[in-house]
């Protein structure tokens, strides 16, 4: 399967979790052990190998935090 790459603007994430809920492969989670500059638990990829690059997460994110790349 093509390799996918996720990049997050972690400092600007508002921890709303909309990306986490929409991911069909359970790749994402809110980092309970981290607090970003805005004071939120930011998104992290806990299961990055499972990512299929569908970009549902980035589509739901109201704050353009997630960049999705696929393949080469």
């Amino acid at each position: 399967m093509a390799k996918c790459k996720l990049t997050f603007k972690t400092d600007n994430c508002k921890g709303c979790g909309l990306c986490v809920d929409v991911c069909p492969k359970h790749v994402l989670a809110l980092a309970e052990d981290q607090i970003n500059k805005k004071g939120h638990h930011p998104v992290v990829a806990v299961n990055p190998e499972a990512c299929i690059g569908c970009a549902f997460c980035a589509t739901m994110c109201p704050d353009c935090i997630i960049k999705v790349e696929k393949g080469e």
Partner: protein
């Protein structure tokens, strides 16, 4: 290959919106459409008064801040003075359907060649959650703590349906952004609304059912569901007017 990244027509400035507020999704869709149509350089956006008052910071095109509700009047002036520009307004329901209702209706009636992005979240977000003309019957807000009483406050206004009674407007559609499928559909509608202007067809308004988790008193997730459960039944999604398609259908029938 980049599958998804922030559109160029959005500046690299974090939105001030509350966590999970779908204003951000709607901003992004407008910017993606600007990128795809290649109109960033000639776009002029008119920002409202409301939570999206600072939209002028976020879009990477010329922006003007209108007095509360007056965005369609400013847009009219800009478009008539600079007909080659692509002019859009971005307005909440308090801005567009209360204080600015006259400007909205008359710009539509005149079929001004502008694009209106109407964000309906059924409440006044910026000022702390007062009842809007679009608040639902029974909806609890700061100014309707026992729920909107239609005997006292009247009924919500369905803007698309109302404007569809006018001969003026070219295109009216109601969409939402509460899941991936709806977001894609909303983008198509917004693109059409800009394309219509590029082609000189006239007034296009896209009403987007949007969330206000903070003032609805809900999680962002519950707010997305509230759109399905409460808003869509009162505000059905769909195309309310498409003059070009209607004319084509008539022509087909006659042949």
């Amino acid at each position: 290959m980049v599958v998804f990244d922030k559109p160029h027509a959005l500046n690299d400035i974090p939105f001030h919106y509350c966590p999970g507020c779908t204003h951000g999704i709607i901003h992004r869709l407008v910017a993606e459409v600007m990128d795809e149509l290649g109109i960033e350089g000639k776009a002029v956006g008119i920002a409202p008064v409301g939570c999206s008052v600072m939209a002028y910071n976020y879009f990477n095109c010329d922006m003007i801040e209108a007095a509360h509700g007056r965005a369609p009047a400013i847009a009219t002036g800009v478009k008539r003075a600079l007909p080659d520009s692509i002019v859009f307004t971005y307005q909440g329901d308090g801005d567009l359907a209360s204080i600015g209702m006259a400007e909205t209706v008359h710009a539509a009636a005149r079929n001004e060649n502008i694009t209106v992005i109407f964000v309906n979240n059924a409440i006044y977000g910026m000022t702390g959650g007062q009842m809007a003309p679009t608040s639902l019957p029974g909806q609890v807000t700061q100014t309707s703590p026992y729920g909107r009483d239609v005997k006292q406050c009247g009924f919500p206004i369905r803007v698309c349906e109302m404007l569809a009674t006018l001969d003026g407007p070219e295109y009216l559609e109601r969409v939402t952004v509460n899941n991936v499928k709806q977001i894609r559909n909303a983008k198509k509608a917004i693109k059409k609304a800009f394309q219509n202007q590029v082609e000189g067809k006239g007034f296009s308004l896209i009403e987007v059912l949007s969330t206000c988790p903070t003032n609805w008193g809900m999680t962002p997730q519950a707010a997305l569901k509230w759109i399905d459960d409460k808003m869509i039944p009162y505000y059905p999604l769909g195309v309310y007017k498409d003059r070009t398609a209607a004319a084509a259908a008539v022509e087909k029938e006659e042949n």
